[in-house]
Amino acid sequence: MSAETQTTRRIRVFRYKRGDDEHRYDEFDVPVSERSTALDALRWIQLRQDPTLALRHSCFHASCGTCGVRVNGREGLGCVTALSDVSGDTVTIEPLANLPVLNDVVSDVTPFMERFPEPHPYIRKSEFISEADTPDDVDAYGRFEDCIECGICLSACPVAATDDTYFGPAALAYAQRMLEEARGADREALLDWADSEHGAWRCHASFECTEACPSDVRPAQRIMLLRKELGNRKKEVSS
């Protein structure tokens, strides 16, 4: 955090330890500067006020997907949520919705990870800088998938809010990307997996996942494309 402290912001933090009957909210007055993010504020609290505050972070640049939280009700990555963009006297920071709380503002991502079809490769062809050549011994440049497995889409989804059996936007979007670039995947098995009342058909097109996604994955659009694939598949079977 920068030394040019300018103002103080009141931060209200969700607190919960396993074994507690109930959660509570703790309030702190945190010195912030122009660039301060929600994660900066949380780390200041942890360092200077309360070392029992548990936080989740790793990369600090929207690439690892670990710092997802809800700030004043909206999910986002804490490391790139500038407090100067958050209005209101008090900034409330809570864990993501629709996943169990591990402790304080940290969600247990295991149920999120368990929804993905397996295996799910992480590298695909790079679509960037299409005018570039590649070296002789390289077919195509590779890149990591956009999805950083942050769970923000699941938190924003109104279907996931009332149904824990729904596969969720991230897992379904992943299946669709495997159809786009198979990388050795079994296409039919993936379509069978998605063709479920808990899968591609459970979505109700609120597009909240796409709105909230910090990494431009567009899960809602991909679910719709999955449906198109599934629809075509049914047509082929019946004709």
Binding site: H61, A62, T66, V106, E131, R143
Partner: protein
Amino acid sequence: MSARSAPARVLIVGGGGTGGALAHDLALRGVRVTLVERGELTSGTTGRHHGLLHSGGRYAVNDQESAIECIEENRILRTIAPGSFEENDGLFVAVTDEDMEYLPAFLEGCAATGIPAQQLTPEETLRLEPNLNPELKAAVRVPDATMDAMRMPLRFFATAKKNGAEILNYVDVTGLIVQQGTVTGAAVRDLVTGREARIDADIVVNATGPWSEQVAQMAGVDVPIQPSPGVMLAVRGRLCNMVMNRLHKSGDGDIIVPQRALSVVGTSSWKVEDPDDLSVPEDHVRRMIEEGSKLIPAVRQATFRAAWSAARPLIGTKEEADSGRELSRTFKTIDHAVEDAIEGFVTITGGKGTTLRGMAEVCADVVCTKLGIEEACRTRETVLLPHDAAFTGRAVA
């Protein structure tokens, strides 16, 4: 002495890349491992780096020990963690005449350390990477690669868990238990429940990176670690597919690594006492833009995404370096029984993200010798589980 009777227990403090790789190595040798990390795995220095899988080129001239370590581990990691690297190679780009003076030494250094290096003309270079500075004078292609700084190390944790290691994140070590000159365990607080506990072990390994000194002092010993942070800047737009390095002696802002749809420009260097209290000096951020745009001009106009600091664990005393950059990037295993007459305590520190497996091998050898275990290291050949298994696997008792 085999592991068929109740196995020896090792407690690893620190859930960064080194701790994870060590847990994996020891688990393969039949040691009963418990690893504790006070935050999320890789939340210390490991997760924050730009994701470079070093070819070693950066050290080929001035730190050839590190360069050789890097290129060897580079090759091994590609075979044990397939699918975790954007294997696009990297370029060392000469922009000024001064850079060109560095070129012969660079090529010699690569040859001496076994780093494959191919010189390219400016035309060839710009065909591969059109966003580069059009005034560039030469480039050298080296086997750099890009990793996801968190997900690649997570594979070590995932495999260690499957092989019986117990990985506990959100457990903070509040003190080490020393009895009659021997470290016998750690006092911890579990942040998940808020409760205090004791963890017993035959050997405690301090794998906390820039926090090594703080943890070592809990046993009353010193470790020559100088936390040396650097600033990094992420901008929107994947401005290159290969890793871009400036062909000159290590300096600020001399690397650009693509990370998905972002470009990460790094880094700088200064010294601190406390690796938890890192600032992000604005002038360093400006310097990243300045230097980065000498490599790729589009950096100047690119939209800001994030700026942050990470503390390198540099080996060396406070007196030994000015800015921290001159210190070697190699690593060190310290058996405190030998150095400080404290039994049951080993520190592994220094190093780079790229050398995690190699560091763990050396440390595991030391630990196993102390425990009287004669098992060879198998981490060079063992292919790692995918990263999500670190979450979906359960810790086995």
